[in-house]
């Protein structure tokens, strides 16, 4: 299975995301922001980082890159897309996901091992987790506070589209402790924490993040 990982100018965790795909048993494919080409991948990861320096709004410039035209079109056709951190911000800016991510309420960048509950294990990115599984993966962001209007938040909750929620303390002021959400169809998932940094005991807080990558591979095989 070919999993594309987009590199935007300023992407930082693209190499890590490709490594995570490899660890999960998939074939990582590097995608370039300036190409109108998804290289026939079966799923796409938009990795973390500071695309275009995040000098405007996070993700606001990347959404206009040529590759995003293709990602948006394919996502609407059901292509599994995972946006991690900056990738989540790009998905919101692209209107593939509702709401927005704003500066952390305490105004500082935060990097820590974060407890999460996986509340929706019916997406292609979370199907390998048990329902309400509690996991620990890396969180690192400066603008990770998820916000949306009350109606949107109620809809996300009501439709089971809150994919992951923070446990043991909200690290950034996200409304309703939301760490990740999906679109209505479930194929597009945005996640503020970084599962690609939790795939081996040696270089992270454990292997709890690997499930996101094994999930999509299994979903693609089963589909």
């Amino acid at each position: 299975m070919r999993i594309g990982v987009v590199t935007f100018p300023g992407s930082l965790d693209d190499v890590d995301a490709r490594r995570a795909v490899t660890f999960a048993g998939g074939e990582p494919v590097a995608l370039w922001h300036a190409d109108h080409d998804l290289r026939e991948v079966d799923a796409v990861v938009l990795p973390g980082g500071f695309s275009y320096g995040d000098y405007l709004r996070c993700g606001a410039i990347s959404r206009f890159s040529p590759v995003m035209t293709e990602v948006v079109a394919a996502a609407r056709q059901g292509l599994p897309v995972l946006g991690i951190c900056n990738g989540f911000q790009i998905l919101c800016e692209s209107h593939l996901l509702p709401g927005a991510l704003i500066r952390n309420d305490h105004r500082r960048f935060v990097c820590r091992d974060q407890r999460l509950r996986i509340e929706n294990n019916r997406t292609p990115w979370t199907s390998d987790y048990a329902e309400n599984a509690e996991v620990s993966i890396v969180l690192k962001n400066g603008e990770g506070g998820y916000v949306a209007d009350e109606r949107t938040l109620d809809a996300l909750e009501g439709e089971g589209r809150v994919v992951a929620r923070y446990l043991d303390g909200n690290p950034n002021g996200s409304l309703r402790d939301i760490a990740g959400i999906s679109n209505e169809r479930g194929n597009v998932v945005g996640l503020m924490p970084h599962p690609e940094h939790a795939i081996e005991d040696l270089c992270g807080p454990g292997t709890d993040g690997l499930g996101f990558f094994t999930s999509v591979l299994r979903s693609l095989v089963d589909a």
Binding site: P9, G10, L12, D13, V15, D16, R19, G49, F50, Y52, G53, D54, Y55, R108, F109, V110, C111, R112, V138, K140, G142, H194, E196, H197, I199, L202, C203, G204
Partner: protein
């Protein structure tokens, strides 16, 4: 008269004009030059310098760029390198950074540098561009930067200005490093009143490359093209090096804000990726980053190290501010710029890669065999100099130095004579007070603002003894780095203090299981014009050079920062020492925290009654006097061997260096790391207070699984190294105890509450 003067001011000062107008008054003093230095420039050129030449000489001959006060002392680092030490040294002092061979065809480059004065003026940008500068140094060697570390020094935690300086500096270090995608794997945060008004921001970067990828800063091959690439040149940082690095901060005087550079980490990230792609296609002959002194430095150093000649069309430099004069363009310290020397046939491909990464690149010059650095501005010659006189043959000073008159009195005022706690309850209260003190408390308020995970190779990061990254995912080859310095020890005895900094850094690296290979240093001192300070500097460099020889680890490069003082008060002499080590298999690394119950805790090394300069004397008595702990480098080496072997052979599950706060602090940190308690019995032959709080060097604690105990103790005994079983790990969770038999016991919850509350309470 007035009209004539304004006309002269706007007229371009060309080489021709300089030759025909020898008596023109020049502002050499305002640019920081001394009368004899200016006279020397006139003698070199055989005429007065043009204003552009004057700008170049003044900035390149500043203390910061020329090392004119420190050079004569720094020679000892090279003189003390033996053939044995040279074995793994691929590039030594003098390049952008030193390079060491770590085996399997890999080379590692690392360097620590200061950005102290700019960080006081503008904490965020000063610290940010400090990170940016050291990263470009590493990149310019041909390496991919893989990690950064930041040794920081601040004024007292409760001083109002610390609340301006510290959050800005920490946010700047994080803001820049995080955006570059470089894991921050460690560093220091130390508080002392001498750093109020003069914080220290030292920045270290580590880079990795293959042996054949090493690049050097030299312009050779007549006809080769000189390409300036990266950010456009603006007015930022003009005079920053000579103004900011050569003067002290007085309470009055003009605001210095305009001299500080502004960083653009996104541009630097593009520069990194673009440059690595250029290296991969082997497109450059020589390369240099633009840092302090900007184009003045890059052009003169490249030409000076090459075949000797270069011509530059200065008007081709892309500008952010079109009103800049040639002198300003030469002095600008705009960040995120590099200069490469490229053979003509590779220029197109070079520019193509830059375009792919949206990086501006312009051919601004050409290498020639004239032996001169010539610079023209719209067809007129504004610089014509022998490049070596600018870059490498600047002034050298033999500053007077003498042992301060107060040194004897300081050493006679011993902390061993101070009143000390006696009962178990007093010892417990002392412990709780110390773990909550600014220098010993939990630093995660700071380190949580740094991304330590990016790149996916971080094996150890703060608060471990050293940071460690994996270099090769297949073989698990890795490197470890630690930075250390106790400035109080250096004040009490600069020679011993520098060796203690080296010993601690060496010990921290070996504690994690890595074999120390090389040293980089950042020597932060007060004014070299003060003989007392110059004596501290001379003693510290001598101590460090001789210490490196004794431990067999060469100094590969570093940086000197002088004039760190406010008024007459110099900072504590602060020779920050970074040691880099190699570990064949990072899965064998030894972490600092206890990981399992029922393991034997051993204290390695000898404890003496050494309390002068200690954290206890500082916190409890506000005292600094006496002589620092005894230095025994042979014992340090032996301890290092034991720790590295124990790691390789799997004899220990945890190890932690003893330094600030002594045994008590080390036990607390090892317990709190994973919430595992310990029962401890102190050696019979020592006073309980001394056993807990003495800061004798050359010591570590280790946790040994029972199955390995005999092998471990046999190894220590065979080497004749002091080792005493002082306890056993016991209990898990916040109710578990650190129980010091016959003295006191305290729960991990109570310790953690004290240890972790300090920085959040002070900084919000």
């Amino acid at each position: 008269m007035t009209e004539q003067r304004s006309e002269a001011k706007t007229r371009l000062d060309t080489v021709g004009v300089a030759a025909t107008d020898p008596d023109h008054q020049q502002p050499w003093a305002d640019l920081g030059l001394k009368p004899d230095e200016y006279a020397n420039i006139r003698e070199i050129l055989g005429r007065r310098p043009t204003s552009s030449e004057l700008a170049m000489y003044s900035v390149m001959w500043s203390e910061h760029c020329s090392y004119k006060s420190s050079k004569v002392h720094l020679r000892q680092f090279g003189d003390n390198v033996t053939d044995e030490m040279r074995a793994s040294l691929m590039v030594g002092i003098g390049e952008n950074a030193g390079v060491v061979d770590i085996g399997d065809g890999y080379a590692v480059t690392f360097k620590v540098e200061s950005h102290n004065h700019p960080s006081y003026v503008e904490p965020y940008q000063g610290a940010a561009t400090g990170v940016g500068g050291i990263v470009r140094d590493i990149l310019a060697m041909g390496a991919r930067p893989v990690a950064v570390m930041d040794p920081l020094r601040f004024g007292p935690l409760d001083a109002p200005d610390t609340h301006r300086v510290l959050p800005g500096i920490v946010a700047g270090v994080g803001g820049y490093g995080n955006c570059l995608g470089l894991p921050n794997i460690g560093g220091e945060a130390v508080f002392d009143e001498t750093y109020a008004g003069n914080p220290l921001v030292n920045a270290l970067c580590v880079g990795v490359m293959r042996h054949e990828e090493i690049h050097l800063a030299k312009a050779s091959g007549a006809g080769n093209q000189v390409i300036l690439y990266g950010a456009k040149t603006g007015g930022d940082g003009i005079g920053g090096v000579s103004v900011l690095a050569s003067e002290t901060f007085e309470s009055t005087g003009p605001a210095k804000r305009p001299s500080v550079q502004v960083g653009d980490p996104f541009q630097e990230k593009l520069l990194i990726e673009c440059t690595l792609e250029i290296f991969a296609e082997d497109l450059v002959v020589g390369i240099q980053d633009l840092g302090g002194a900007g184009l003045s430095c890059a052009t003169s150093e490249l030409a000076s190290a090459g075949d000797g000649g270069m011509h530059v069309w200065l008007d081709r430099v892309p500008l952010r501010d079109s009103t800049l004069a040639p002198e300003e363009i030469l002095m600008s310290e705009s960040q995120e710029r590099m200069m490469a020397v490229v053979t003509p046939e590779n220029v197109d491909r070079f520019l193509e890669i830059c375009a792919k990464w949206d990086v501006d690149a312009t051919v601004v010059g050409e290498v020639n065999d004239s032996g001169r650095l010539t610079i023209e501005w719209h067809g007129e010659s504004v610089v014509d100099v022998p490049p070596r006189t600018v870059a490498h043959e600047g002034p050298v000073y033999h500053r007077p130095f003498a042992r301060p008159s107060w040194q004897d009195a300081l050493q006679a005022d011993r902390a061993e004579d101070l009143p000390r706690p006696a009962t178990g309850e007093e010892l417990k209260q002392t412990l709780l007070r110390l773990v909550a003190s600014p220098n010993l408390c939990d630093k995660s308020w700071i380190t949580d603002q740094y991304d330590r995970y990016v790149q996916g190779n971080t094996v150890l990061a703060q608060p471990e003894d050293s940071g460690m990254v994996r270099v090769d995912e297949e073989t698990n080859l890795g490197v470890a780095v630690s930075t250390d310095c106790n400035g109080r020890f250096a004040k009490l005895d600069p020679y011993a203090g520098a060796q203690l900094a080296l010993a601690e850094s060496f010990r921290n690296v070996s504690t994690t299981g890595a074999r120390p290979l090389a040293v980089s240093d950042c020597l932060n001192f007060g004014s070299p014009e003060d003989p007392d300070v110059m004596w501290q500097f001379a003693e510290a460099t001598r101590g460090l050079a001789e210490g490196c020889r004794a431990l067999g680890v060469p100094v590969t490069g570093g940086n000197v920062s002088l004039y760190n003082q406010t008024g007459q008060t110099a900072i504590l002499p602060t020779p920050v020492v970074a040691v880099l080590g190699v570990i064949d298999d990072v899965t064998r690394r030894t972490p600092s925290g206890f990981v399992a119950e029922g393991q034997q805790v051993y204290l390695l090394g000898a404890t003496r009654e050494e309390l002068s300069g200690s954290e206890w004397a500082h916190v409890v008595h506000g005292h600094l006097g006496g002589t620092p702990p005894r230095v025994d480098l042979a014992a340090e080496k032996e301890l290092g061997d034991i720790l590295v072997n124990a790691s390789r052979d799997g004899l220990v599950d945890a190890a932690h260096d003893l330094s600030d706060g002594g045994l008590a602090q080390a036990l607390v940190e090892s317990c709190l790391r994973h919430g595992i308690g310990a029962r401890v019995w102190l050696p019979d032959d020592l006073d309980a207070f001394v056993a807990l709080f003495s800061e004798s060097a050359g010591r570590a604690i280790v946790a040994v699984p029972r199955s390995e105990e005999v092998r471990f103790t046999d190894m220590c005994a065979a080497r004749g190294f002091p080792h005493a079983r002082i306890g056993v790990t016991d209990g898990r969770g916040e109710d578990a105890l650190l129980d010091v038999q016959d003295q006191f016991s305290v729960s991990l919850g109570e310790l953690r509450a004290a240890w972790s509350a300090t920085l959040p309470a002070a900084l919000g």
